[in-house]
């Protein structure tokens, strides 16, 4: 399951890079295969779990299963199966979408969101399968499963950052909406992983998985040649264009771990309130000034990668000119309003994450 999820993560970033560098693709590109293999592997393994447990084949441990519409399997298997069906459903849906409204020009479209939710469900299913085992395991086996669990949590974080990729480019890092979208999607994972695993550094480890993967993509993808196969070409490229430098999520994640370690006896709402606000304030404190550096010439090197541009990036765009975009709605009081929403969402999603983490901690089947 971890392999299938890794395949999809690599495939997704490969595919995005493909669209930024070559542009043209078809269903059978290696990147697409890597993504859909996740659905296929997930579908096959979960189908086997459901089939064998339902019909008692291969002496499975039916005591560790749940029942859904007469079918028996561990809960995680059903989540993986659901994700597989959702991912495969998104394929004909996406194909029709292209014919009706044009080929891929943006990530956030209904069929793409269905694909990402399917993928997330496969990952969460993997988490729940690992948790069921983990919560029943001996200490030695638990340590190994915990590593797997945190790794899968990191992959979920990467998936969510793909979903919000268009809303988190460096040109937006001085806008309140950038922090609002982070508050909406990131604390839920950090809090859930922290609660469910019980590891003191769960949030930091989860964010580290994200950071390591993104740095890997950023440093490895440009080593491979690629050239645009459709126009208009505004920024010629001769290699696979990587994603931008990873968000500094590791810093607020570390801050959250430290805070939650010191608030062990406190209620979930209080922990969420403090954790959410700490996440947001530390994120602003590190990402805002770092963004100044990212748009500067100093970041245009192999390490930070601010000189990589997709072929479609116009020379007059904010990205090429190294400018920050300030939305009209954020003029005057608007900025404070949206930052207030960011704080509210950070707290709320932290609480949701804690609730989900608490539930995961008690999963037995």
């Amino acid at each position: 399951m971890a392999l299938a999820c890794t395949s999809a993560i690599v495939g997704a970033h490969w595919d995005i890079s493909w669209h930024s560098s070559i542009g043209r693709d078809n269903f059978w590109t290696p990147a697409h295969i890597a993504i859909y293999l996740c659905g296929v592997f997930g579908g096959i393994s979960s189908s086997w779990l459901i089939f064998s447990n339902t019909f008692g084949i291969g002496n499975p441990d039916r005591a560790n299963t749940v029942t859904i519409f007469g079918l028996r399997a561990p809960l995680g298997a059903f989540l993986v199966a659901w994700g597989g069906v959702a991912m495969l459903t998104s394929a004909p849906f996406d194909d029709w979408w292209h014919n009706a409204y044009g080929l891929d020009v943006k990530i956030i479209s209904p069929p793409h969101v269905l694909l990402i939710f399917g993928f997330l469900s496969v990952q969460v299913g993997g988490l729940v399968l690992a948790l069921g085992e983990m919560n029943r395991a001996t200490a030695e086996k638990r340590a190994l499963l915990e590593k797997l669990f945190l790794y899968l949590g990191g992959l979920i974080l990467i998936t969510l950052t793909i979903l919000i990729l268009e809303l988190t480019t460096r040109t937006l890092m001085h806008s309140a909406r950038f922090y609002r979208v982070l508050g909406m999607f990131i604390p839920v994972v950090l809090a859930a992983m922290s609660r469910a695993s019980g590891n003191r550094w769960a949030a930091t480890i989860t964010a580290s998985v994200y950071t390591i993967f993104l740095l890997g993509f950023q440093w490895i993808l440009p080593l491979f040649p690629a050239e645009p196969k459709l126009g208009p070409v505004y920024s010629p490229t001769t290699y696979f264009v990587p994603p931008q430098f990873p968000l500094l999520l590791i810093v607020p994640a570390l801050a959250c771990d430290l805070i939650w370690q010191r608030m062990k006896g406190a209620g979930a709402w209080l922990q969420s309130l403090v954790g959410g606000l700490v996440f947001l304030s530390v994120m602003v404190a590190v990402q805002w000034p770092f963004a100044n550096f990212l748009v500067s010439d100093g970041a245009k090197n192999w390490f930070f990668g601010s000189h990589h541009f997709g072929y479609y990036v116009h020379p007059n765009s904010y990205l090429r000119r190294g400018l920050f975009w300030h939305p009209e709605e954020e003029a005057g009081f608007g900025f404070a309003m949206i930052m207030g929403q960011a704080a509210f969402l950070s707290v709320l999603t932290s609480r949701l994450g804690m609730g989900f983490g608490n539930w995961m901690r008690t999963v037995q089947r």
């Binding site: 020009v105 069921g132 208009p232």
Partner: protein
């Protein structure tokens, strides 16, 4: 879904625009004569289908690349595609190119053959033409999958609340069972909510897309005695267009065809003058009374051509004279002065070549023809119900202004322009008595071909009827 159907019906009238979506071009790439057919996608972004027929047998390969016609995107061509050579007809090459945005594009065509290389860029107008509806099979399959996924969410939520936290082998008690039902109910409500949000999102995307459906500038005609005033205004199409950015197409900012509606028996090819932003005026030449359908061709400075439509009612005949010496037309003359060469059975959508031979008084090919507006001849193709109008030259149905923009980076510019029947007055070039117009009739029905060419005595305007089958 109802909204989608409504959009599709709305599209019907939009799709019946007077221009023709497909591009038909004949010209030279270096020394190689080509007939290029480009079928732009009806949904943008989408794939344009390209078919190239070389008249020469020594062409070894053809590469094609899409670029915007002007601006930053016209500087860097993407990696060209190698067009696929037909096994049945080795002189035919086909390919598909992605057109990623609406606007003025060009297909850069690079030929390699026994006599060296040659290039020509063919301008293409790309704009969304329709919104598709979902076919029942795909709709049925997706609906079943949606119900399956929603049921899955409900089942998973119930199992998560009822059994997942129980130690292995334990049977859920009444409280857990109740929690399971509660979770299933909540999940069902949430699923319905998500489906509703998804449907709203889908409709919003569809509506947003419908705004990208191409709508030409609107044109209103007003008559003040014999002065025609044409007021142009934005149509609401999402692309920013200005009303004062027109470029000259063989010498004029606007080419206006006025066709008498009652019988299509009187046609004028006129050239209103630009007065101010969005306004063209013209003192009419001698014209017969009647209600006229107006078709005005203009080209924006980015190379995007448009055909604007309107109508006017001339209650009394005008006496003229008009202002522009290039204005020509009148009661259409029939065959005799020129012969429409046999084309066989005409079929909708099929590329063809409409060939004429102009005769002199003795019935021989005319030897004294002059260029008219820089071209050997002009041809307007009009469907009798006015649902199709296209203004052609021997190069095809491309705008000559856009064609010249496309050749800016083409080293063989002069070669192409001269040999492609783009004759200019005074250059000493003889206008041949035989010429052809590459074209494909978009739909079946009865069409009128309005041919114009110039003799020393003046411009002749002739008409020919053709029937096109499916």
């Amino acid at each position: 879904m109802r909204k989608l159907i409504a959009l599709a019906l709305g599209c019907f009238s939009l799709c019946a625009h007077v221009g023709v979506n497909d591009v038909f071009f004949e010209g030279l790439a270096g020394v190689y004569p080509l007939y290029v057919t480009i079928r732009p996608p009806v949904v943008i972004p989408g794939v344009a289908e390209i078919t190239i027929r070389s008249a020469a047998k020594d062409v070894k390969g053809i590469r094609i690349a899409p670029m915007t016609l002007t601006g930053a995107g016209s500087k860097y061509p993407p990696t060209p595609d190698l067009a696929v050579q037909s096994k049945e007809d080795p002189q035919t090459f086909t390919g598909g190119l992605w057109i990623m945005s609406a606007g003025a594009w060009q297909v850069k065509t690079m030929v390699e053959g026994a006599r060296g290389t040659g290039e020509v860029s063919v301008p293409v107008r790309a704009a969304s033409q329709q919104v598709s509806t979902m076919d029942p099979v795909t709709g049925g399959v997706l609906t079943v999958l949606m119900i399956l996924l929603a049921a899955g969410v409900v089942g998973i939520a119930g199992a998560a609340a009822k059994e997942a936290q129980l130690p292995p082998g334990t049977v859920p008690d009444h409280r857990k069972t109740k929690r399971g039902w509660l979770a299933m109910g909540t999940a069902a409500m949430l699923s319905l909510g998500v489906i509703w949000i998804g449907a709203e999102w889908w409709n919003a995307e569809a509506q947003d897309y419908s705004r990208s459906l191409y709508k030409p500038l609107t044109m209103q005609a007003k008559l003040n005695q014999d002065l025609l005033e044409l007021q142009l205004s934005e149509s609401g199409w999402y692309q920013v267009k200005t009303l004062d950015d027109f470029v000259a197409d063989h010498g004029h900012l606007m080419h206006l065809y006025a066709i008498r509606e009652s019988d299509l028996g009187i046609v004028y090819h006129l050239h209103p003058k630009f007065q101010k932003s969005g306004k063209f005026v013209l003192k009419l030449p001698e014209m017969a009374a009647g209600k006229y359908r107006l078709f005005a061709d203009v080209v924006h400075k980015n190379g995007f051509p448009e055909t604007l439509t309107s109508s006017m009612e001339l209650r009394e005949a005008t006496k003229g004279p008009g202002e522009s010496p290039d204005d020509a037309g009148g009661v259409l003359k029939g065959e005799g002065l020129a012969v429409l060469e046999p084309m066989g059975e005409l079929r909708a959508g099929k590329p063809t070549m409409i060939r004429f031979t102009v005769k002199d008084a003795d019935g021989n090919p005319a030897a004294n023809l002059k260029p008219y507006l820089g071209m050997a001849a002009h041809l307007a193709v009009v469907k009798r119900d006015f649902s199709v109008f296209s203004h052609l030259h021997p190069n095809g149905n491309i705008s000559m202004a856009a064609f010249e923009m496309a050749q800016i980076n083409n080293l063989r510019l002069s070669n192409n322009v001269l040999v492609s029947s783009h004759a200019s007055e005074g250059d000493g070039q003889r206008v041949p008595a035989e010429f052809g117009f590459p074209f494909g009739f978009p739909t079946s029905g009865e069409y009128l071909l309005i041919l114009q060419f110039a003799r020393p005595s003046g411009v002749e305007t002739l008409s020919f009827d053709v029937k096109v089958s499916n």
